[in-house]
């Protein structure tokens, strides 16, 4: 506890530490009255604009203060708002320059108050929360349940794009939740449009299972050779039992089973077939299947009068689900289920994670978690009109992430690595040393360009093109210095940047009058306005590091000396080139980067926005990761082993 909280103080408010200590001294050991400090500052400088029904940015200080006073810790109920406020005040973004601004001393006082309160927060798990499976989770789960993917039945032509998965084609796309990830479906319930699609898919899948071409999947489910025609009542009973256990991701009670079996009693032939199809259809339309955690026992409705625990371990079936949806976005497999059944999963967590990461299903970590975290879908929007090129730029980072995640690579290799993944479309960004490592490739006759799988190649320098920051797809989706700086700050360093003020125009394109000005000088002009400067002082100097890459991600032809790639980090550290920036990010700024990685991964694993009670967990894992040259696998284990992943708070009665 002490270790992380100290590191937190040191990092968060390093620039004002000295002020802090002098302040403590001046208070002369009087008792700090934290909520008074916050109250004074917020009511004197913020409340004018931020109160009532028309509160700016919908932040109502009055409500915030009144709810915080009643809480045991003022930060508890509105942590994300408090966090934003603290950051905006510290960065000088708020109050705006044209308003009354607190003195440095007042700002320091507030920062100290915030850090002190944060230090007092205790680690606590969240409640068990029911949530709907996201679209991609539903697709994977349905496929694992039935043993086949529902596919669109059409003849494919070369160089054309079709969505083969029926589920992905029919279900609407999930918006990201508060956590930033689509598996956070808490705020995104069931619409009647989706429901119609679920009904349709339940019908199609239960019918297809009994078609001749699916006899293997059917036999696998039944545990014996069987076809729709040879189905006997005994086999049907076994089949429905196995199906339901799989669909519910947990064992079912004997009395439930006998009720279901009784409905199949005395039926044969087509009557038996449609009875079992009806059971299956009902099962996969039930919230038990479409939602997660609906069946976890809740002690509040247990009749026993035992004393109420503040936090409990989730049961092993829930743990299996948490693990499999985290690493695979899919239901638990047979091995996880049987470990859960025998109560052995929790003790074998580490070996199971190692096994799961070696499964092809672990590609989900790169394709779902990685893509959403780093916003890689943006590549699709920026590289139009050339699908194979797009595919190459899009699969390079995901293949790279998959390699980091599953081959025990250190966390910091995200930013600096001598391995990358290219195909003939991307090799041209790298030069001969890379292209000669590729296998020979020849197009077939009649094909203009086509998708080609990536090969793993070695780079001569880890820092120059190595790591994710300088992958062509990333540079092409963030075409300008501002976009590159923003992306780096938000996605890699975990800063939260407010929306730009609405009345500020974008950087003007070069005009005859400004032609003599360099790109950088035009940025400087833009930055000279005070309202812009508060953020752009942080953003732009980072983005300039990549000025020697053009808007397509290619190295510019000009000699290196003519390009100014120098800049500085928000903490003030200066660099001259992208390589130096990367070096800083994996050394002096390593903690910032790792902490962000931990936060993002934890939020994805928990499928929810982090709360103030997760802060101790984040800090503890960050410290652990920093203490050793930890790998991504170590991180996944640490998260699966952490309190919010392992435990839950029973609901208040």
């Amino acid at each position: 506890m002490t270790r992380w909280s100290f590191s937190l103080v040191r990092r968060r408010i390093k620039p004002i530490l000295i002020a802090f200590f002098s302040l403590i001294a001046s208070l002369n050991a009087q008792e700090l009255q934290p909520s008074t400090i916050a109250q004074t500052l917020l009511t004197s400088y913020c409340i004018d604009c931020h109160s009532g029904p028309d509160a700016e940015a919908r932040v109502d200080i009055e409500t915030l203060l009144s709810t915080s006073v009643s809480a045991s810790n003022p930060l508890e109920s509105n942590y994300s708002t408090w966090k934003t406020i603290a950051q905006l005040i510290q960065d000088g973004v708020m109050p705006p320059a044209d308003a009354d601004v607190p003195s440095e001393e007042e700002k320091n006082e507030f920062a100290v108050w915030f850090a002190t309160e944060l230090e007092k927060v205790v680690s606590k798990p969240g409640p068990i929360q029911v949530r709907r499976l996201a679209k991609h989770e539903y697709r994977n789960t349905l496929r694992s349940l039935f043993g086949f993917d529902l596919e669109v039945n059409i003849q494919e032509a070369e160089q054309t794009v079709i969505e083969k998965s029926l589920v992905l084609k029919l279900l609407p796309t999930d918006p990201p939740g508060k956590s930033g990830f689509t598996n956070d479906t808490h705020a995104n319930g069931l619409s009647s449009y989706s429901w119609d699609q679920y009904m349709y898919l339940s019908d199609v899948s239960t019918r297809e299972l009994f078609e001749p071409q699916r006899s293997n999947a059917l036999s696998e489910l039944a545990g014996e050779e069987v076809t729709a025609d040879s189905l006997t009542p005994a086999t049907a009973k076994k089949l429905i039992r196995n199906f339901i256990v799989k669909a519910r991701r947990r064992d079912l009670l004997d009395e439930e089973l006998s009720t279901i079996h009784s409905r199949l009693e005395n039926k044969k032939g087509t009557a038996l077939l449609s009875a079992i199809q009806l059971e299956m259809q009902a099962e996969i339309l039930s919230p038990r299947f479409l939602f997660r955690s609906t069946l976890h026992s809740q002690p509040s409705d247990a009749s026993s009068g035992q004393a109420k625990e503040p936090e409990l371990f989730v049961d092993e079936f829930e743990l299996a689900e948490r693990l499999s949806y985290f690493l695979w976005a899919d239901m638990p497999d047979i091995e996880l289920m049987s470990l859960a059944r025998s109560g052995q999963l929790r003790v074998q967590l580490e070996t199971q994670i190692a096994r799961m990461l070696r499964s092809p299903k672990a590609k989900s970590l790169a394709n779902d978690f990685g893509v959403q975290w780093l916003g890689l879908d943006e590549i699709n929007l920026q590289v139009a009109n050339n699908p194979p090129q797009l595919d190459a730029l899009r699969t390079q980072p995901t293949d790279f992430l998959h390699y980091l995640f599953t081959e025990e690579r250190p966390l910091s290799e995200l930013l600096s690595s001598n391995v990358t993944f290219v195909n003939p479309h991307t090799a041209k960004y790298y030069g001969r040393i890379v292209s000669k490592q590729l296998p020979k490739y020849r197009k077939q006759k009649g094909i203009e360009i086509e998708n080609v799988v990536n090969s793993r190649v070695e780079l001569s320098s880890e820092l120059q093109r190595g790591g994710i920051l300088t992958m062509p797809g990333i540079l092409a989706m963030n075409r300008t210095a501002i976009l590159r700086g923003t992306w780096l700050l938000e996605r890699i360093m975990g800063h939260h940047l407010p929306e730009p003020p609405p009345n500020v125009p974008a950087i003007p394109p070069a005009s005859p009058n400004t032609a003599e000005l360099t790109f950088r000088q035009r940025f400087e002009q833009h930055r000279s306005q005070e309202t812009c400067a508060v953020c752009h002082d942080k953003i732009d100097p980072l983005g300039f590091a990549f000025e020697n890459f053009d808007d397509k991600g290619k190295l510019r032809k000009q000699s290196k000396t003519s390009l100014d790639t120098s800049g500085q980090l928000p903490g003030g550290e200066r660099f001259r080139t992208a390589e130096e920036l990367k070096r800083i990010l994996i050394t002096t700024e390593k903690e910032t980067v790792i902490k962000n990685i931990v936060e993002k991964t934890l939020a994805y694993a928990l499928c929810r926005e982090l709360t103030v009670h997760d802060v101790p967990t984040v800090n503890r894992i960050t410290a652990e990761m920093l203490a050793t040259e930890a790998t991504w696998e170590d991180l996944f284990v640490a998260i699966a082993d952490s309190l919010p992943f392992q435990k839950y708070c029973p609901p208040a009665t």
Partner: protein, 531 residues
Amino acid sequence: MPDSPVRSLRLNRRSLLRGVGASLPLPLLNLMEESSAAAPSTEQPLRFLSLFKPNGVHPPSWNISGGQEYDFRLSPLMKPFAGHKDDVLILDNMGDFGFSSHANSTRRFLSGHHRNTDTASIDQIIADKISGDTSHRSLELTTEGLFTNQIGCSYISYDAKGAPLPRESDPQLVFDRLFRNPIDHAGKRTQLKSVLDRVLDDANSLARRAGTEDRQKLDEYLSVLRSTEKRIATAASSSPRIDFGQLERPPMAANLDEQVEAMLDLICLALWTDSTRCATYMLGNSNSRMIFDFLGIKEQHHYLSHFFRNFSRPNLEALLKISVWHMQKFDSLLTKLKNYREGDGTLLDNTLVLYGSGMGHSDNHTVKRIPIVLAGAKRFLKTGRYVRYSENQQIGRLHLSLMNAFDVDISDYAGSDSPLAGLDGSSYESYQEKPFDSWVSVKGNEIVAQGRIRMSDNLDEAKLFYVDVEGKQPVKIEVSFKDFHQFNLAYHCGTAISVSGTGESRGDQAVITKVTDLKSVHGKLPGTQKG
């Protein structure tokens, strides 16, 4: 079905069975028995159906050589639909562009001009006019995935803002959409109700033991469920329509041919059951990448369609095989439409079919002499004719005429402001060929002839050409690849040439086996015109 509410109940079982190609295991058994009183055809709604052929044509085998309005000989590529010669109206000299990209020519097919990017294509304008209370306003169908390199190649139907309409290509999904909505489906409804009852029980019991926040989510779920039950109840109490429950879902298609046949069946069934009155179907993207392996062809269609730059005998043969298949699908469509009885006529009588491509010459992308064939729509079209206009016509003029046929009140479209005359038999300015003399002279092995050159009617002999001179010995040109290429025989097809060469007489034919000279009578030279 505003005009005749009982019409769709008159399902004729025998006619339905005829509607199904003999080789096809498709749907529809056990529908209702024939009804005695047939309403006259004119009371049936007029439907619009467009079938798009990808990758233009090989003009020497498509174009009609010579020929008059009522006296014409079908070109080799038209032979597959010869059985419907009286049902079709073949238009020639359609399109007035020298050259066009695939994407632009595709847009023009139903939108008049490629720059017409902010209005609907004509199928959508017509659908607005005629859809009435049908359950599906229109169907947009295709066979092939999106060609994202040039997205315009993949769409012919555009909405009122000019945005492409998503297409569907899986016949099973189309069938499900049209005929298997469980809520409108008496048989399915009962099963669905039992499923929902079970699910409702589950959800209720889960909701009882859930915490507050979870209960909210389950309540949301329950309310969606209850509204579905209401929809079922409403559907069950509404007046009975056709029982779609007895239609059989098309099986998985094993190849493109089965897929297309199934889709054509579904289109006809959708029109006949008045589920929709408007459909467009692309047999492929306009630069189709399809590989016709079921015809024994291993190259992409688009590659083969550049028959000049990728010229080889096997490539040309493969291309013509694919083109014949496209024509057979058109034939199959007309046969199916004709097999559905409707009123005192057939479904074809009440359907305006527009078949064609976006471009003419598939190698140089000319947008003149685009293949365009109309069929059906007895009340509007005068079929059994070949109409060759004097000038190259804007496609937009054709579109105006078609929209007017559906009573769409529109007087200019895509830059065209007068409808195309002649479709309904009205007078039009027809193409007048410059007169030329024709003669044949055979002296020993020296053969000289002047007349119109045409390709062999037999597509297996795409290398054979004829010069027909009335009342004279027919001249056949059967030469080596070198001559074929050097004198560009295919280019001159349909026009007057004067040819000299050596050869022999075989039976009543004079056969040139070596060309020494070939001239266009009217001075046409390959490469002088764009396209």
